[in-house]
């Protein structure tokens, strides 16, 4: 094969182009200047300048999550790399494909405590799927292509490629991405047919089955969502999903139970508790989902489809593990189900659905409406009503608003919902919206935010202005770190230690300072008009939605309790909230 001599920096750009990368989120600095110089001299790869490296990583996550492509980040050495650590960890926890290129001090200075030096591969080793330090320019092209391969194959995740400055200047051979795969990394994507057969037989014998789906369905791609819908339709099995999996099965679908888990729907959690066959599709029995483990779905046989063998039997022992990509596993299950013309016991299923309807009748999301104050739940309901017929993408920060968004905003398509699930990163949503908007310039991109979270990465509004990205930041402003306050009420005698932000900025003025549009709503009566104004504004908007300050997020499984011990919404008196968690539960997060 003919090889061409190029500088390391040229190789980086060539590799990005050959990988089909269109957008890179980054921030320049001394140790990546040669790469930035190459970016300047080409037009295929567009660079989006963020205001903080954490913003670059979250923007890349939003970009990746909304497109299914790999997000790309470019930062400098030292502080550039350490600032990216939060986003890398977030991407690892939520299985987001990302390649992060970091500059490094020249090879001969490594280990000398040079200016802006840090042990990037050492620091990022536990927070990436894999990482590389490139010491020879002739390895650079291979490593970059390998990085994309590792980031996007198997369970996706972030990969760091640390490139010393002298390697960026040195000349070396370029090799194309063809036939590049890792010499040993071969994730298993096709299921074992014995397991598929056993699973299908178990499902066919079920009387109270449930599909418990997760982010793996989204990561597997649009086909997986389609197959999930087909499978649910042909079997009539009720579907619940984790926070990360929302949209894989449509919220308007007739088998939909809503989200499960700590702030999930009563009917979803009760069905999980009482089911006899659980089909976990691309979820990982996270502690926010299971509640107290030894009371988790005590009478069910469990099937677990996961591409990552280490997820299987990690916290919950399952009866039929299927190590495979979700789409492959569902495809095989559907084929077998059809070829054997299987069906579920109709009488038992009718009975099961009747039970579920009875749980649904509890109307667990019910809340007290207020004519004078905007209830946060109401704000999301109106936001959903006014945006549901549009091409809308939603991102969130972390906290109460995130849970209300998950409960009240209804997703009918995958890749429309970007949130920080595993790591729970406050400040994720605004930069993620930047990334989503960059990928979908014509769509409506809304960050449902909290007043505390949004301040963590507020500087990225400046990025949105620079690149004319008309993101909408819908802040549920209750002047508290709402979830922290709720837990203090639950656990710590309502002593609200440092969860009240005494000096919030005036968000409307802040918007003006950034050069975007500020809108404020304080009464329910003005909410609809204000939301419409936000949607119709073709520029970035900071929407200050003043909501009831002390609302709690319900329903809730208190720490240390089981799925069938949920704390329900509006009727919970404050005393009960204060004593909902026992001594054992207080030890938990």
């Amino acid at each position: 094969m003919a090889t061409v001599e190029m500088t390391g920096a040229e190789i980086v750009l060539k590799a990005l182009q050959d990988q089909g990368v269109e957008h890179v989120f980054g921030y320049p600095g001394g140790a990546v200047l040669p790469i930035y110089d190459e970016i300047f001299q080409q037009e295929k790869v567009e660079h989006i300048l963020v205001r903080h490296e954490q913003g670059a990583t979250h923007a890349a996550e939003g970009y990746a999550r909304s497109t299914g492509k790999c997000g790309v980040v470019l930062v400098t050495s030292g502080p550039g790399a350490t600032n990216a650590v939060t986003g890398l960890t977030d991407a690892l926890m939520d299985s987001i494909p990302m390649v992060c290129i970091t500059g490094q001090v020249p090879t001969h200075l490594i280990g000398n405590d040079a200016f802006q030096e840090c042990d990037t591969v050492g620091i990022t080793r536990p927070c990436t799927k894999h990482n590389y330090l490139v010491k020879d320019v002739n390895d650079l092209a291979r490593i970059l292509h390998e990085a994309f391969y590792v980031a996007t194959h198997g369970r996706p995740g972030p990969v760091v490629v640390d490139i010393p400055k002298d390697v960026q200047f040195a000349k070396g051979r370029y090799v194309g991405p063809k036939n590049i795969e890792h010499k040993t990394y071969r994730p298993r994507v096709k299921p074992e047919q014995d397991a598929i057969r056993a699973a299908v037989e178990l499902i066919a014998s079920a009387k109270r089955p449930i599909l418990y789906t997760g982010g793996g369905v989204i990561n597997s791609g649009v086909t997986a969502s389609k197959l999930l819908r087909d499978f649910a339709a042909m079997t009539g099995i009720p579907v619940t999903s984790t926070l990360m999996g929302l949209g894989a099965y449509p919220a308007s679908g007739k088998n939909w139970l809503g989200m499960l888990g700590m702030h999930g729907m009563y009917e979803a959690n009760m069905a999980m508790h009482d089911c006899d066959v659980m089909i976990n599709v691309g979820a990982r029995f996270d502690d926010r989902i299971t509640g107290r483990l030894n009371a988790f779905s005590p009478n069910s046989r469990k099937i677990h489809i996961d591409i990552d063998p280490s997820s299987i039997n990690k916290t919950v022992r399952v009866d039929i593990p299927i190590v495979a990509d979700v789409a492959h596993a569902l495809e095989d299950m559907i084929r077998l189900w059809k070829s054997k013309s299987l069906s579920l016991d109709k009488k038992a299923m009718d009975h099961w659905w009747k039970q579920i309807e009875a749980w649904k009748a509890r109307d667990c999301l019910r809340y007290k409406k207020n004519p004078d104050v905007i209830m946060p739940q109401y704000a999301i309901e109106r936001l959903y009503a006014l945006t549901k017929d549009r091409d809308t993408y939603i991102t969130t920060e972390v906290g109460q608003h995130q849970m209300w968004a998950a409960q009240f905003y209804r997703f009918d398509e995958p890749n429309r919902w970007m949130t920080s699930g595993g790591l729970g990163t406050m400040g994720y949503g605004l930069p993620a919206a930047v990334g989503v908007q960059q990928a979908h310039p014509k769509s409506l991109v809304i960050d449902i935010a909290g007043d505390a979270s949004v301040l963590m990465t507020m500087q990225e509004m400046s990025t949105a202005i620079q690149y004319e990205l008309p993101i909408k930041i819908f802040i549920l402003n209750n002047q508290y770190m709402g979830m922290v306050r709720q837990w203090q009420q639950l656990l710590h005698g309502n002593r609200l230690s440092h969860s009240y932000t005494e000096a919030l900025p005036d968000f409307v003025k802040l918007a003006e300072a950034y050069g975007c549009v500020g809108i404020r709503a304080t009464k329910p009566s003005e909410l609809d008009a204000a939301i419409k104004e936000m949607i119709d504004t073709p520029r970035p908007v900071l929407f200050d939605c003043r909501v009831a300050n002390l609302t709690n997020c319900f329903p809730m499984i208190p720490s240390g309790k089981a799925h069938n011990e949920m704390l329900m919404g509006e009727d919970v008196p404050d005393e009960e909230v204060g004593s909902a968690i026992d001594a054992k539960g207080k030890m938990l997060v």
């Binding site: 591969v121 040993t184 502690d287 299971t290 280490s310 919950v316 022992r317």
Partner: protein, 186 residues
């Protein structure tokens, strides 16, 4: 069905009953690239697993493949999880649980320095012979013995040397391999 669960790191694992802890030797075949050992031991410290012994050396120079033998302890669930987590590391080729396969041999080597004169010195030498330990260095006041064997044999020898003037011990840690014609997948 969930009663015998042993989740490793979940915040919701609040049962205090301690299930049986087992000791297993794992053989891990890895690419000998910079940082690979840090990845493996970082996994153990990051996830709260134990390392009782660790040995590592390149075993196939032309392919740059190393073999790591790790002796670890934990409940059967944790051991299974360790194996899965190791296999998840990108430069790891394969992992074998030598203890589960049952049909394997483990050995370690120790160098034991004993100082003394008179009756103690004679006794140390006599015991060394009984244990088939070799004298690899000697002075008028000391011996260095080289002993090879299973961990408990080495342990026992060292214990016996304590009253006879044990000065210092250097141990390699455990290396292990399965019996028979079959080799590990590389």
């Amino acid at each position: 069905m969930n009663a015998q669960l042993q989740p490793s790191g979940s915040a919701y694992f609040i049962d205090t009953a301690k299930p049986l802890v087992e000791t297993h030797a794992l053989a891990v075949i890895v690419d000998n690239e910079p940082g690979v050992l840090a990845r493996v031991i970082g996994l153990f410290s990051g996830r709260g697993y134990n390392i009782d012994s660790l040995t590592v050396s390149e075993t196939q120079h032309e392919k740059h493949v190393s073999r790591i033998t790790i002796v670890t302890s934990g409940t059967p669930g944790v051991i299974e999880q360790i194996k899965n987590q190791l296999e998840r590391l990108v430069p790891v080729h394969s992992v074998a649980d030598l203890t589960v396969s049952g049909n394997s041999i483990t050995r370690e080597l120790a160098m034991v320095k004993v100082a003394g004169t008179g009756e103690k010195r004679v006794e140390a030498l006599r015991l060394a012979e009984a244990f088939r330990a070799r004298v690899i260095d000697a002075s008028t006041a000391s011996f260095i013995f080289e002993i090879t064997g299973k961990t408990d044999k080495v342990e026992q020898f060292i214990t016996l040397m304590v009253p006879l003037g044990l000065v210092e011990v250097a141990r390699t840690g455990v290396a292990g391999i399965t019996r028979g014609a079959e080799g590990m997948k590389v």
